[in-house]
């Protein structure tokens, strides 16, 4: 009894339990990965793996390419995201409300669909390519740098846009007015007052984009056949049919973790050094722009939104287009690809639904518990819990998948080759999203509600269930949907761990694209987007939940 009355029950015990589970499924696999990278076949300590990599010209080229790609995409994303955010924050123009859907687009349209649909449009046999060819213009090949930079920029600029928009909205307009009243010309004011204050937001989000590009596997492998890249090379080393070398896989993984680690370190430095404390003030009112400028603003914003949404449209068109083997018969409509995936190969659809449901259930339960502990029941260990929960965000899917497979393919808990490892990949990779989502609402719930319940004699655990959970209902639903949407689209980690029979929709899309069947891939794509959109629409219509309010 004394145990139950102790101050460790129930929250302390639950914190320790959460730490053990996370430690086992996140930290331990990463530990195994690091240790594998410095061991030779006999198990002795050795740096042979790294030496071999540094001696391999292809590998060095891949590292260089990855860094160049990361830099170019980041620069371009800033180039699009910052002006877009500035236009939206400061000006009023027709159809401006359309930009509200941008964050949804980033979350909803899976990368594999983006890559695939741009191939359908600009690939060597693509719609636009063929059209231009007919009128005598030859477009440059989309494979390689062009396609990589183009499609990744379109996927990642929203990160910059959202970050900078939030910063601009929190910016005190009086500062700018002060600059102007001191006699500075408007441009100088912007450069000397606004720019330094916006810089941290830009820098932080730019580094996020950079690390996402470094870890990107999906677009890299679809479009970069001629450009060796670190993530693709790591994956290829892993899938090597006759069993690639665990030493090289781990060494490559460790190098990519290191690159992202350096970036995160820089990010922290930027945030710490450039942090101005600003009393939150009123953002200046948006200025209504005049006809000519309005047209231009609407045009720019509209064009960017159009490019972001195009993949969605194209995938549905392709899903209902007639095919002859690998050849698309554009303009001839047919249900054959759609019926084929449901009649002949529905397995990936079922797998996706089953795995994502289980992962979402586990993830949401865990996220509610973890965020409650982190925010409402702080103790010496919750900070650590907070760190571990978001750790998977910084590790690319390919690396996480390799770590999980290397860890759970032997020993007392063998998960490799079973559906459990697919669910585990989903849960581990997407948990941070769910936790962040649940945490943000918990912040706004005053402690007094719960304290009132406890002071009325209800036990802490019962108070949690009877008082906190109902208050959190909306955020639990939105965390669940976010988790569902992002797990359904997960590919980078699951493609590493899957074995025959465990194919999910993104894996099926990936394999169909690899086999040259864009029609079939699009049919799976259409099915996937449908199961992603359905819960979002239901939640908005039925529960009236604004999913993306804090995105």
């Amino acid at each position: 009894m004394s145990f139950i009355k102790s101050k460790w029950w129930p929250w302390g015990v639950l914190t320790v339990l959460s730490l053990i589970i996370l430690g086992f499924f996140i930290l331990y696999p990463l530990g195994v990965l690091f240790s594998n990278s410095v061991r030779d076949e006999s198990g002795a300590l050795s740096l042979a793996g790294f030496a071999q990599l540094l001696d391999n010209s292809m590998f060095l080229q891949a590292v260089r390419n990855t860094l160049v790609l990361g830099t170019s995409v980041t620069v371009l994303s800033v180039g699009i995201g910052v002006p877009l955010a500035y236009m939206v924050a400061r000006y009023e123009f027709p159809l401006k409300n359309l930009v509200a859907i941008l964050p949804v687009v980033t979350i909803v349209i899976p990368e594999v669909i983006v890559g695939q649909s741009w191939l359908l449009i600009l690939g060597n046999n693509g719609l636009l390519t063929n059209f231009m060819e007919q009128i005598g213009i030859e477009l440059p090949s989309f494979y390689g740098w062009t396609g990589l930079i183009f499609s990744m920029t379109l996927v990642y600029y929203t990160y910059i846009y959202l970050g900078v928009l939030a910063a601009l909205r929190g910016f005190d307009g009086q500062l700018e007015e002060a600059g102007l009243s001191l006699g500075d010309p408007p441009l100088t004011t912007k450069l000397r007052v606004l720019a330094p204050l916006m810089l941290p937001a830009v820098a932080v989000n730019a580094l996020v984009v950079f690390s996402l590009v470094v870890g990107n596997f999906v677009l890299a492998t679809l479009l970069g056949s001629r450009v060796p890249l670190l993530s693709v090379m790591t994956y290829n080393e892993f899938v090597n049919e006759m069993g690639g070398s665990p030493l090289l896989q781990s060494a490559m993984s460790v190098i990519s973790i290191t690159i992202v680690g350096i970036v995160l370190f820089l990010q922290k430095r930027v945030v710490e050094r450039k942090l101005y404390t600003m009393t939150p003030g009123r953002a200046p009112n948006a200025v209504r722009v005049k006809s000519g400028a309005a047209l231009m603003f609407t045009g720019c914003v509209g064009f960017i939104i159009f490019l972001s949404l195009l993949p969605l449209f194209i995938v549905f068109v392709a899903a209902f287009t007639e095919t002859s083997g690998p050849v698309m018969k554009w303009g001839v409509w047919s249900l054959s690809s759609m019926t084929r995936i449901f009649r002949s190969a529905p397995e990936p659809v079922f797998n996706s639904l089953i795995f994502a449901s289980i992962a979402t259930l586990i993830g949401v339960i865990f996220a509610v518990l973890a965020s409650y502990l982190i925010i409402k029941k702080r103790n010496g260990l919750t900070q650590t819990l907070d760190y571990i929960v978001v750790l998977p965000l910084t590790i690319s899917g390919t690396v996480m998948g390799i770590a999980l497979v290397q860890t759970f393919n032997t020993g007392w808990l063998v998960l490799a080759g079973t559906s459990s490892i697919m669910v585990l990949c989903y849960a581990v990779r997407r948990l941070p999203f769910a936790v962040r989502n649940a945490s943000s609402t918990l912040f706004n719930i005053p402690d007094s509600i719960e304290e009132a319940s406890i002071s009325l004699g209800v036990s802490p655990l019962m108070s949690f269930f009877k008082v906190m959970l109902p208050v959190m209902k909306a955020s639990i639903i939105s965390a669940g949907i976010l988790m569902w949407v992002t797990t359904i689209a997960e590919l980078a980690a699951t493609i590493v761990v899957y074995t025959g029979g465990l194919e999910t929709m993104p894996i099926a899309i990936f394999r169909q694209i690899d086999g040259g069947r864009l029609g079939m891939a699009s049919a799976y794509g259409a099915a996937m987007i449908t199961v992603i959109l359905a819960p979002i629409i239901i939640s908005i219509k039925l529960f009236r939940i604004n999913l993306f309010s804090n995105a």
């Binding site: 589970i21 391999n56 010209s57 292809m58 690939g123 060597n124 046999n125 090949s141 494979y143 056949s225 001629r226 693709v232 290829n236 899938v239 090597n240 049919e241 006759m242 095919t323 002859s324 083997g325 690998p326 050849v327 084929r340 995936i341 002949s344 190969a345 397995e347 079922f350 089953i354 795995f355 289980i358 586990i362 865990f366 808990l413 998960l415 490799a416 080759g417 079973t418 559906s419 459990s420 697919m422 669910v423 585990l424 849960a427 899957y498 074995t499 025959g500 029979g501 465990l502 194919e503 394999r511 169909q512 694209i513 690899d514 086999g515 040259g516 069947r517 079939m520």
Partner: protein
């Protein structure tokens, strides 16, 4: 939490499968297949016609992924039959196979049968030169493998990394046996190396590479789809054969149904259908390929013979030789 992780998916899957199984009163067979959806679909349609009471459940994945699964399930096999894998790959998994002597074996030439009836060929790939004439831009249409040793072909043709694909492995093995280390190095120095078979033929069809050294059926699909610029060249020095086969899994739960399905897959009707629908060249000697498709008969194509068993034994050696040659050229 751990319990949930471990068992829930299986329970859900079992429920689903048993629901599906009770629907069909008949014999069930679990097929592990690496073939594409259309090919499996065509095969299942023929199966339905020949034996309506056979209920085939399919599990799909790459050959390597499925083999690893069979290996992992060895104590408690869940699959009954694997269709299909290259002979070299099959040879590495002999201990997981149940020998079976099909009555149809007589129609299959000796060279397409596995040792001790462990497996049997279902179809045979030919390695060809796939040409995209629109992208040649002045280059002559290549007619031999040794054309690609010439400097003007540098960067103009794709070849799949032999460690990423069983067919590409046989191609590179063939080039080594036919032209020696020197010849192979010259070709490696000129080639664009891709990381999957799909990348090679898709890239050629889409004009990314003017030429791809690839599998006959994959190239023919683009010709059949109406891409007039695609042409297949059977190299003058001889093409290489890459037969693919199937086997019954050792300890298969539905052994009887598996044998019935095995015989259907080997039947003349099935092989003709797969030839016509997917250009899978049959192993049976009683099917005339040139009458049913635009493809030539096997006997009218010059073949450079390869020893499939020896090919898989030299795996490590060949792959490192190839990597060395490719790296040297960089």
């Amino acid at each position: 939490m751990k319990m949930k992780l471990k068992f829930l998916p299986q329970i859900a899957a079992t429920l689903m499968f048993s629901a599906m199984a009770t629907l069909a009163s008949a014999q069930t067979v679990v097929l592990y297949s690496s073939n594409n959806t259309e090919t499996i679909e065509a095969a299942l349609n023929v199966t339905k016609k020949k034996n309506a009471s056979l209920n085939v459940q399919q599990v799909t994945g790459g050959t390597g992924a499925l083999m690893k699964r069979i290996q992992a399930e060895a104590q408690n096999p869940r699959g009954d039959i694997l269709w299909s894998g290259g002979f070299g790959t099959l040879g590495a998994y002999k201990e997981y196979m149940e020998p079976y002597k099909s009555p149809d074996l007589a129609a299959i030439p000796e060279e397409f049968r596995g040792p001790d009836n462990l497996w049997v060929g279902t179809n045979v790939h030919l390695m060809v030169i796939m040409v995209n004439e629109k992208q040649l831009k002045g280059l002559p249409v290549p007619t031999t493998w040794s054309d690609f040793m010439k400097p003007e072909w540098k960067g103009k043709f794709a070849i799949t990394d032999p460690s990423k694909s069983a067919t590409a492995y046989l191609l590179v093995y063939g080039l080594l046996k036919q032209f020696g280390r020197d010849g192979l190095e010259k070709i490696a120095a000129n080639a664009v190396v891709t990381s999957s078979s799909g990348t090679t033929y898709k890239g050629t069809a889409m004009g990314e590479y003017p030429v791809g050294l690839t599998i006959e059926y994959a190239a023919q699909e683009y010709v059949a789809g109406g891409q007039k610029e695609i042409r297949l060249v059977y190299p003058g020095e001889g093409s290489y054969l890459a037969p693919e086969g199937m086997f019954i899994v050792k300890g298969a739960k539905n052994a009887e149904a598996a044998r019935a399905f095995y015989n259907i897959l080997l039947s003349r009707e099935m092989q003709q259908e797969l030839l016509v629908k997917s250009f899978r060249r049959p192993v049976r000697s009683d099917i005339e390929v040139s009458k049913l498709t635009p493809l030539p008969d096997l006997k009218s194509v010059k073949i450079f013979p390869l020893d499939q068993a020896a090919a898989s034994e030299e795996y490590e050696q060949l792959v490192s030789l190839w990597n060395l040659a490719v790296n040297k050229a960089k």
